[in-house]
């Protein structure tokens, strides 16, 4: 069971500039692309991306749900794989035998929630839920309130959001110091209204998503300078319709999610041009073999596929299931 074999099928050789008007979203092809990811064990890249496997399952599964094909992956195989990634400490690694880390533990919880399998945690082992929650809670720094990714101590607002996300799904927020974490997020705020990965760090759309997401979960969006941040986020849209993650950087499909969901949380989705962004995302899909890439002409992968599809869903693209921006 695996899903992030990454690139290799980007079949359509779009020559830049002369690409025809994009077709609509090729839903069936994207579904097939995701279903096919696990059959690519004869590619070296499949093995070199093992460190993303559990994230890959989450990205693929989420994309399938949004595309209206929630049953396109076999549930029992998915469950089996997820549990095979769990370690003694209660956390999950990227694949069986990989060490526990916040990133994969969050993916595991999200997958279980997506396929309605949270009760399985208790069925398999009493206190199964709490065991995961304790692992996550143990990564909070009691002094600063932020979270580490694993026992080795790297901290990042990505992990803080991950912790809040998974703990709120597990209904175990009481295990952590919310107030301290919230003050930490406040300390990450910059004059432009955005947030960085740590106090002092530059605003970045991905980190803004994580900080807004975390604040949203604990209903503290009142702490955000909505107008200023909304303006900064809206300036991420460039003339080709795509979004970048920081001033004067290149556009990339994944920001269709980070920027757009942040704007949605602030209630400012209409501050960018939806039809231009839709067009941009569609030019990044491979219309023959499915999958979406970071920008037109590049290799497709499941990461950009889910964030492209999720972006389209936020924009209300017809035929897609509605996504929650948090």
């Amino acid at each position: 069971m695996a899903l992030v074999a990454g690139p290799g099928r980007g079949g359509s050789h779009l020559s830049s500039g002369s690409s025809p008007a994009p077709a609509g979203l090729v839903i069936d092809k994207h579904v097939k692309y995701i279903q096919g990811l696990d059959s690519r064990k004869d590619e070296l890249d499949y093995w070199l991306t093992e460190h993303l496997r559990l994230n890959g399952v989450y990205w693929g599964l989420t994309a399938l749900h949004l595309l209206g094909h929630p049953d396109a992956l076999p549930r029992d195989k998915t469950l089996h794989f997820v549990f095979a990634c769990q370690n003694q400490d209660g956390g999950f690694g990227a694949a069986p035998g990989h060490d526990s880390h916040m990133l994969y533990t969050v993916s595991a919880v999200q997958i279980l929630a997506t396929i309605n399998a949270l009760p399985e945690l208790e069925n398999r082992r009493e206190g199964g839920k709490e065991r995961i929650a304790q692992y996550i809670a143990s990564l909070q720094d009691p002094n600063t309130g932020t979270f580490a990714g694993d026992e080795w101590g790297e901290t990042d607002t990505r992990f803080l959001y991950g912790a809040f996300n998974a703990l709120s799904i597990l209904n175990m927020m009481h295990l952590v110091n919310v107030e301290k974490a919230v003050s930490y997020i406040q300390a990450c705020a910059n004059f432009d209204g955005g947030f960085g990965r740590a106090p002092g760090a530059e605003s970045h759309a991905g980190q803004i998503f994580t900080c807004l997401g975390a604040l949203s979960i604990v209903r503290r969006l009142d702490l955000v300078d909505t107008t200023r941040l909304g303006a900064w986020l809206s300036e991420r849209q460039l003339s080709n319709g795509g979004l970048n993650g920081r001033p004067e950087k290149l556009v990339d499909v994944c920001y269709s999610w980070w920027v757009l969901s942040s704007l949605a949380m602030l209630g400012k989705l209409h501050w960018i041009n939806a039809s231009q962004l839709t067009k941009f995302i569609l030019t990044c899909q491979d219309p023959e073999h499915g999958g979406i890439s970071d920008m037109p002409g590049d290799m497709v992968d499941v990461f950009h596929t889910v964030f492209g599809v999720a972006g389209l869903s936020l924009l209300g693209y017809p035929g897609l299931v509605e996504v929650d921006p948090v």
């Binding site: 093995w47 060490d99 880390h101 790297e154 910059n190 041009n273 950009h304």
Partner: protein
Amino acid sequence: MTSHGIPRSATREERTADARQRELKEISEYQRLVEEVNQKVQAEEFTPELLQKTAELLRRNPEYYTIWNHRRRIYVHEFQDLEKQVSAGELEEDSRVSQVLDIIQLDLQFLFPLLLKFPKCYWIWNHRLWLLQQATALLPVSKARPLWEEELGLVGKMLSRDSRNFHGWGYRRIVVQSLESPTLHGQSMSRQELDYTKQMIGINLSNFSAWHNRSKLILKVLDEENASDEERKKMLDAELELIHQALFDPYDQSLWFYHQNLMCSFDLDLAERSMAPNLSNEQRLTYIASERRYIEEVLEDAQDCKWPYQALIECTLLEAKLRQGLQDDDKKQILQWLKELKTLDPLREGRWVDMEQSLIKGTA
């Protein structure tokens, strides 16, 4: 993450039979290596050979975070072993120090080419930082500090290769913080770092990462030096002059965001956290008027540029805040600018319409 910026190339259907065979062989070699490393770690066979194998694996795949963890486990084991030998009287403290230093230096050297090749790989940066932290914890300051100093040089090199590298800037702040810490007998480097941002801006005006860092460092410098209001005002004047010089390219949004940052000192709601918090309202109004004149000049030469309009609106709204009310004439003027913005910047029409609505309703 995943496949950013990789052009579409031959798909797997296009591989020749030969290439297919080669790839299968590579896969089995890779898998054998992974298996070998994992088995040895599990059996705690922490030998130089195992270390070599992890290096081989990480050179092929630096994203394999578990292998980095293994590498650290091997070193922790080694460091503890050396300490035990010292306590048991089997090893001189001096040779423990020199052995630990050797291990750390060799690994830092191993990492350097990897970092050049994969400058956005979180795990490589993390591992470097861990090694340096070990140096601080296990070595005398006279040995640990030079390692951190060299690291500052290295991160400088990384940033001159890619001046916006997010990891690089974050890492630089951590290295500086360590060098400033009492543990390493350090002192504030804020002035020096402030100069560094100016140097980076001089190379590329559009470097928002440098402007951002500058905005943080200025506050730090002023606080550390217990700057008087007059000194703070001087700093503000100098920064305004700097940004005016830079704004000869009015299409660059990095510059306007920095300009907006400076304007915080004139904003009643934000001044407190700005570089010059104690200006009088009179002074604020004088500043705003002067900024307005400057922006109008910019606009004259760049009629098709949206940013001066946004800045003019901001000036007018700040003035209104200070005068406790928006004059009718000003309101008309803003509505006129918003009309221009809707034409010049249609992507963000929704934002301009919202602003228009709130002006008309009087809630702006």
